[in-house]
């Protein structure tokens, strides 16, 4: 306990967090990352590999890993699980035909032991599209209420317009901070 306390204090001084952005291909993961970082979003190609960005947010240093979501590279996601404080799961709210795949991938991800302590933020992205399902509907389809193993929240957003991205990030950063930096 004593050692743990010291480790926590050390970590607290750095105030660093590691976030993993995952989701099916075409969900808008890279766009979210670029939008948060204030980069142009109009020539983003599908991610073959991963992107890392370090951002400052509310006094915390966030290391955000955005890993490609194509089927053939999903098996590499596990290489990024170690030391992850939070998972941001991005959903293309307009992609109705693949919501079942999305649900399956999410729930199998949550069984991963190395992610057991991580907070989960679900971004119901692409709310700018007219065919997008609302956050509440995404919550039902993905059966988020059945998740009891992780702290989670869902946030409807649009990476295209930037709407509500910060709200989501505020939540996950706050949730992680209250978990790591306070002895409960």
């Amino acid at each position: 306990m004593g050692l743990l306390a010291i480790l926590r204090k050390l970590r607290q001084k750095e105030k660093e967090m590691r976030l993993l952005v995952l989701g099916l291909d075409n969900a808008g993961k890279t766009t979210i990352l670029k939008r948060l970082n204030g980069e142009p979003i109009d020539t983003i190609s599908p991610t073959l590999g991963f992107n890392i960005k370090t951002l400052e947010h509310n006094g915390y240093k966030l290391h955000i890993f955005d890993v490609g979501g194509q089927k053939s590279i999903r098996s590499y996601w596990r290489n990024y699980f170690e030391q992850t404080d939070g998972v941001i799961w991005v959903v293309d709210s307009a992609d109705r035909m693949r919501l079942d795949v999305c649900k399956k991938e999410l729930h199998s991800l949550l069984l991963e032991e190395r992610l057991s302590g991580a907070s989960l933020l679900v971004f119901a992205n692409k709310q700018d599209l007219s065919g997008a399902l609302a956050g509440q509907e995404i919550k039902q389809v993905l059966d988020l209420d059945s998740i009891l193993t992780h702290h989670w929240a869902i946030q409807a957003c649009s990476a295209y317009t930037g709407d509500n991205l910060l709200r989501g990030v505020d939540w996950i950063v706050g949730d992680i901070a209250s978990r790591i930096y306070l002895l409960d």
Partner: protein, 346 residues
């Protein structure tokens, strides 16, 4: 061990004890104020309770933030006690809230009015945070005969040997002329989505056979799965194709198109030539001067050498005369047009 750590800390900061005591004091004052306003909630009128709840929640969050910042000098016992106190504040608030505001009476603000908020909305419990997250209001959609449409999404599915024109799919008098398309299980069909008045947000495609899709510039992305012997004439920001075989793609794309589990895919530039094409690109916010149709990336071919799964269509083979208007929409006539355009070997 933890006592030793505290000792070291105290040597470094001789006044930590004092600061901790001070913090404890100010924390208790704020806590008392918040508790007072929670208990006052029951005396307020129903219309303002929800707003007040949010305000109190923000106060609790601020208090918690201060606590996190103060952990650097607070003794462990204080940290634990104060954390518990914050927790009980949150519990008290949600208890009051559930009493005063019945859950079913929740109404959510429209997405459009909810501007980007930089205010912190963090909470420790999931239940309370869900309650605050904004909801998109449902959009009314004028129903169209024979086509199932929900919100502004137009769905075409399970059809054979037919010609579809966007003008008959989307009511032109609709206020909002931005729509999404979902096309699935079409065989031997021609789908004409070219329109100067209607903007397409996204197209999702699944299980098409021997079908031609023609579309103007699309605002976001096109995603297709499980197609065979089809021709697409499309413009978009991102293009992804999975599990498909024998396709011709006439493409305007501003990023690198990708294929995965595909074979015999031929790519060509976007050859749509209609009046007002420039305006259509502008409306879709697509840069007409950037076209990366030939920068295809194959997720099933990560070697240096060129992927054998796709190639570029020779210029002399490019189709330029698209069936945007047809006189005869009989099944035979459609088949004849398709045979002429698809021209793919078995």
């Amino acid at each position: 061990m933890s006592a030793a750590a505290d000792d070291i800390k105290e040597q470094k900061h001789p006044d930590t004890k004092e600061a901790a005591a001070k913090f404890w004091h100010s924390f208790q004052q704020e806590r008392e104020a918040i508790r007072q306003s929670i208990s006052d909630l029951s005396t307020q009128s129903r219309s303002v309770v929800s707003g007040l709840c949010d305000k109190i929640l923000e106060q609790i969050n601020n208090l918690e933030k201060k606590l996190i910042e103060a952990t650097i000098y607070l003794p462990t016992y204080d940290q634990r006690q104060l954390t518990l106190q914050v927790k009980s504040l949150n519990e008290e608030l949600s208890k009051q809230r559930s009493i005063l505001i019945p859950k079913s009476k929740f109404s959510f603000k429209s997405r459009k009015t909810a501007a980007i908020s930089t205010k912190p909305t963090s909470t420790t419990g999931t239940v309370s945070s869900q309650a605050q997250l904004p909801e998109k209001s449902s959009v009314n959609e004028s129903t169209l005969p024979a086509i199932s449409s929900n919100f502004k999404i137009i769905t075409l599915h399970d059809e054979q040997g037919k010609y579809f024109d966007i003008k008959s799919l989307v009511a032109l008098d609709a206020d909002n002329k931005i729509v999404d398309f979902q096309l699935s299980n079409l065989t031997d069909c021609i789908v004409n989505l070219v329109s100067a008045d209607i903007i397409i947000g996204a197209i999702h495609i699944k299980n098409l056979k021997n079908t031609l899709i023609m579309s103007g510039p699309v605002g976001s992305s096109i995603l297709s799965h499980g197609c065979e012997r089809c021709v697409f004439l499309v413009g978009c920001h991102q293009f992804r194709m999975h599990d498909s075989i024998k396709m011709k793609i006439y493409l305007h794309v501003t990023s690198h198109p990708i294929i995965e589990d595909c074979r015999e895919i031929q790519f060509a530039p976007y050859t749509l030539a209609v009046d007002g094409l420039e305006q259509m690109f502008e409306k879709a916010k697509l840069d007409q001067s950037i076209n990366q149709y030939d920068k295809v990336e194959d997720f099933k071919w990560l070697k240096q050498q060129a992927s054998p799964n796709w190639s570029l269509l020779q210029e002399q083979e490019w189709e330029k005369d698209w069936p945007l208007n047809i006189k005869d929409s009989s099944q035979e006539s459609i088949k004849c047009i398709l045979d002429n355009i698809v021209k793919l070997e078995d």
